[in-house]
């Protein structure tokens, strides 16, 4: 018995010493060119596939993904943040991307065998040791779903064309002046407000994966000029057909309740404390209010206090009301 134990201890010590030597002296070859040892790639990939299947949200948590604006937002972000590795649906991956280990699959291949809930999990979480990043911020599932909406069109071979590689204000406009739905219009905001938000996105104070990626493409010194240019645009009023109860929203925004402050006290005009919300897209407004209420946003005490007692129905009513407003004369 004693001999058995001593032998086991000696083997364990040798094993530890060997493992220590591999780490300490750099004996394992991490070369991407050399690739994985036989069997390792299979091991990693199988683990990845099973882990995603286990952790993906239930299919009934998948929101509607067929809104063209949501798809367009996902496409815009895909073009800017994802296409370098996964290529455009009709383009080829760069030689550099192909040389990664593991090589990122071209997008049509990458999405082929996943259901939308699994694609969501991968976009939101990323995959360790593959180079696939997680979503840059926490709490913005709404944004990850936009990317999934786009990926679903790729899977169905019905993907819209991706926007071109603009820079500066033209890049901003490629979403903010083309897409409604989840994307706000900037022409009604003040330059100061836009600049402050660019800074908030850059520092992460206002969490958004899409916007933190977008602002990382522009130097902070350019924020003031960008803000002036974007705020200066003059866009026509959109014809909006809102889905929420705009009349209930008007009462709530105008009078408030014993739990909810009156929104218009701060959002009622250009000279007020808060940004003008008139005519912003209904989806965008509802999402933003929800982010305040649920605590993802907490960079303004007044908004935290103002939204904390809102019911879901209140939020859709308020979004409908502000979406239906024209700019004040």
């Amino acid at each position: 018995m004693r001999t058995v134990l001593l032998t086991l201890a000696a083997v364990a010590a040798l094993g530890l010493a060997g493992a220590g030597a591999v780490v300490t002296f750099g004996l394992y070859n991490v070369s991407a060119q050399a690739g994985h040892l036989p069997g390792v790639a299979w091991l990693l990939h199988t683990t990845f596939r099973n882990a995603v299947e286990l952790r993906a949200p239930a299919m009934d948590k998948v929101p509607p993904l067929d809104d063209p604006d949501l798809i367009a937002l996902g496409a815009g972000h895909y073009a800017s943040a994802c296409a370098f590795c996964h290529a455009t649906p009709d383009g080829a991956r760069s030689a550099t991307a192909r040389a990664m280990e593991p090589p990122p699959p071209p997008i049509d291949e990458a999405v082929a065998h996943w259901k939308p809930n699994e694609l969501f999990w991968i976009v939101e979480n990323g995959v360790k040791m593959t180079g696939m990043p997680g979503w840059p911020v926490k709490g913005r599932e709404d944004e990850a779903w936009a990317v999934v909406a786009y990926l679903e069109t790729v899977k169905a071979d019905a993907a819209p064309p991706l926007p071109g590689a603009d820079a500066g204000a033209a890049y901003c406009r490629s979403c903010h002046e083309r897409i409604a739905g989840p994307v706000p219009r900037l022409d009604r905001l003040s330059p100061d407000y836009i600049e402050a938000q660019l800074e908030n996105y850059r520092t992460g104070v206002r969490p958004s994966g899409i916007m933190s990626h977008a602002v990382s493409l522009a130097p902070p010194e350019s924020f003031a000029d960008l803000a002036r240019e974007l705020a200066g645009a003059s866009l026509p009023d959109r014809e909006v057909a809102v889905t929420g109860d705009a009349a209930a929203g008007r009462d709530l925004a105008g009078r408030g309740t014993r739990d909810v402050p009156a929104c218009l006290a701060c959002h009622g005009g250009e000279d007020r404390k808060g940004p003008l919300l008139h005519g912003q897209p209904e989806d965008f407004l509802a999402t933003q209010i929800r982010l305040w209420r649920d605590g993802t946003y907490h960079h303004n005490r007044l908004m935290v206090a103002a939204t904390r007692d809102l019911e879901d129905a209140d939020i859709s009513a308020l979004a409908a009301y502000f979406a239906s407003l024209r700019a004040p004369e």
Partner: protein, 340 residues
């Protein structure tokens, strides 16, 4: 025997050495019973009944205490020898069963007989009070009124008339109590409680939430004013008016601060576009006798300090502190003070 003696002396000494400390402590506690918020400073019919009950019980309790301890002293120190059984039995039954039964029954009947008084119907004026965290939403409904006169954190009543209170609470249980005028009544979310008060001595008193209701429970107080009926009517009429327009430049600047900072999202100033309902109505804040539900005074300094440091003055209060410049705070305070 010696050991026993020493022990008894020690005990006696240590008991006596505590007497000055206890006296001091009770003096400190009693110092809290100032005149404004004291059930002993009777200023109303209902408080008088409670006060009388209190004094009778106190005197009775002292008498009983003296009798029990007197008997004990007699038996242990002065009794000549064994009681005969007949005497002892009579004393036990008489003093231990019959006397307490008679005294306690009488006190109970009398105490219960006072209860219906607080349910006496009012003479016309109804005051609805809602307990919020941590302030009082007040509505005056004079007889026949179709809409209330809205106020907050202050209760005014006519002397010599019975006013009916209808009490509610917003989120948690509170209790409404003006010790100088009467008993307390709990306030529940979703269940109205009512009682009436009849003040008979004009004066300024203090009310306090008497049911723990969260972090700032201790700061949930109010000023209660009993006024001569004509004076009360004039006051109520003034309270029903819209807010006075700003009287000078500082007040006008303050009104602009009030508007730009979005104060109207939560506060109403009748006659302006401030129509919020979350916080106290400020239409006549300048004429009130306290600020922040008994937390501070309505002075320019206190108003400015309150707006800038609400959370420090009243932990967990819903109103955020405002990071304003000194000039803006002064102007804002000036505007609010002018809302008389």
């Amino acid at each position: 025997m010696n050991v026993m003696m020493r022990d008894r002396n020690d005990i006696r000494r240590s008991c006596f050495s505590r007497v000055p400390a206890l006296t001091l402590l009770s003096l400190l506690v009693l110092a809290g019973c100032g005149r404004e918020q004291s059930a002993l400073n009777v200023a109303g019919r209902d408080a008088a009944a409670i006060s009388l009950l209190f004094w009778v019980m106190l005197v009775g309790a002292v008498l009983l205490w003296l009798m029990v301890n007197g008997a004990f002293l007699y038996v242990s120190r002065f009794a000549p020898g064994r009681f005969d059984e007949r005497h002892g039995r009579r004393l036990l039954i008489g003093g231990g069963i019959v006397l307490p039964t008679v005294v306690l029954t009488a006190l109970l009947v009398w105490g219960l007989s006072l209860l219906p008084d607080s349910r006496t119907p009012g003479d016309g004026l109804v005051v609805r009070v809602t307990g919020e965290q941590w302030w009082w939403r007040v509505e005056y409904w004079p007889e026949g009124a179709t809409e209330p006169v809205v106020s907050a954190n202050e209760i005014r009543l006519p002397v010599g008339e019975r006013t009916e209170f209808r009490l509610l609470a917003d989120k948690v249980i509170h209790s409404f109590w003006i010790p100088a005028l009467g008993g307390k009544m709990d306030m529940f979310p979703g269940r109205e409680t009512t009682f009436t008060l009849l003040p008979d001595k004009p004066g300024t008193y203090r009310g306090q939430c008497a049911e723990f209701c969260g972090a700032s429970h201790a700061w949930m107080a109010f000023v209660a004013v009993a006024m001569e009926p004509e004076e009360f009517d004039a006051w109520l009429q003034a309270q029903a008016e819209d807010a006075a327009p700003p009287a000078d430049d500082a007040a006008r600047r303050g009104q602009a601060v009030f508007r730009d900072e979005g104060c109207g999202a939560c506060h109403t100033v009748r006659g302006t576009d401030a129509v919020g309902q979350v916080g106290p109505d400020l239409t006549h804040i300048g004429s009130r006798l306290s600020l922040g539900a008994g937390r501070a005074r309505v002075t320019l300094d206190d108003l400015a300090t309150w707006v800038a440091h609400t959370d420090a003055l009243k932990p967990e209060v819903r109103m955020p502190s405002y990071d304003l410049g000194e000039d803006e705070l002064r102007d804002l305070a000036h505007y609010l003070k002018g809302l008389r």
